[in-house]
């Protein structure tokens, strides 16, 4: 995609979950196995607009036991993201109550099919690491 009209979001997770997403898309049943406790915005797919924040969450991911972890990219057209935000199928919010460290973008499970159809999932590119 790599379009000026698109946004790249980052998701940190264990390598097996990352490969599952890259090869098969996001799946609510697989996410439920990992999201066993309360989450900030509810059940769903969490991404960040800051790759470094995604690395933080990757190192804390529930599925990392005995595994390495990674960050993957999710590129989505801005108009598609805006549409999901308007419909309440995605939320964009500051991650922490401090000076801006980035935002997280959360996708409701009902948005997964649309995201799988319209977003491009790929491994983190080395250019993304500042």
């Amino acid at each position: 995609m790599n379009s000026p009209d698109s946004i790249i979001l980052y998701h940190g997770t264990d390598v097996d979950s990352a490969l599952e997403i890259l090869n098969h898309g996001i799946n609510i049943e697989k996410l439920r196995l990992l999201q066993t406790g309360d989450t900030q915005l509810g059940e769903g797919f969490y991404t960040a607009n800051n790759v470094e924040v995604a690395w933080f969450f990757a190192s804390m991911a529930p599925g990392t036991l005995g595994k390495s972890y990674t960050v993957i990219e999710c590129e989505l057209l801005v108009e598609h993201l805006e549409s999901l935000l308007e419909q309440g199928l995605a939320l964009q919010a500051l991650i922490v109550n401090t000076a801006s460290i980035g935002e997280q973008i959360w996708f409701h499970p009902d948005a997964f099919e649309f995201v799988n159809d319209h977003a491009e999932f790929r491994p983190l590119s080395k250019e993304s690491i500042l």
């Binding site: 390598v15 990352a18 490969l19 890259l22 090869n23 990992l34 999201q35 066993t36 406790g37 309360d38 989450t39 900030q40 800051n50 470094e52 924040v53 690395w55 933080f56 969450f57 990757a58 190192s59 804390m60 991911a61 529930p62 990392t64 036991l65 005995g66 390495s68 972890y69 990674t70 960050v71 993957i72 991650i95 922490v96 109550n97 401090t98 000076a99 801006s100 460290i101 980035g102 790929r122 491994p123 983190l124 080395k126 690491i129 500042l130």
Partner: protein, 128 residues
């Protein structure tokens, strides 16, 4: 055209954080590299801040209830600290709280250069 099938070789792997399991408890250790050597007082403050994080999570019950012990904080050298959390689940909102606490420590006390593979706490990135 066939869609590319990704393998582990296509990924960048993070390996700084270490996990182990004993019974129902997961211990996960993280490396914090500061941008400068910490004074003894700053090292104590960092330890106290992490203990405060533990008590907040443990007794507020607003961030998940999985932490089972106060963090183990080890001073590896003047610029490097390893802390270990023990909990029954790694899921929950405690991560956002920890992120906020580390970000504010980095801004207010001593800049954190890296947390495992993450440079999210470098003050220039926070302030940007």
């Amino acid at each position: 055209m066939n869609k590319k099938v990704f393998t582990k070789d296509d990924l960048l792997h993070g390996t700084s954080a270490q996990n182990s399991v004993t019974g129902d408890v997961v211990a996960h250790a993280h490396i914090v590299e500061f941008a400068r050597p910490l004074t003894e007082a700053e090292q104590h403050l960092f330890t106290n801040v992490l203990q405060g994080f533990y008590y907040t999570v443990r007794f507020s019950r607003q961030f998940g209830s999985g932490l089972v012990a106060a963090p183990l904080v080890e001073i590896l050298d003047q610029q490097t600290i390893r802390y270990t959390l023990r909990q029954t689940s790694m899921s929950g909102q405690w991560k956002e709280l920890l992120l906020a606490i580390l970000a504010n420590f980095s801004l207010d006390v001593a800049p954190i250069h890296k947390h495992d593979e993450s440079r999210a706490f470098a003050p220039k990135k926070i302030a940007a």
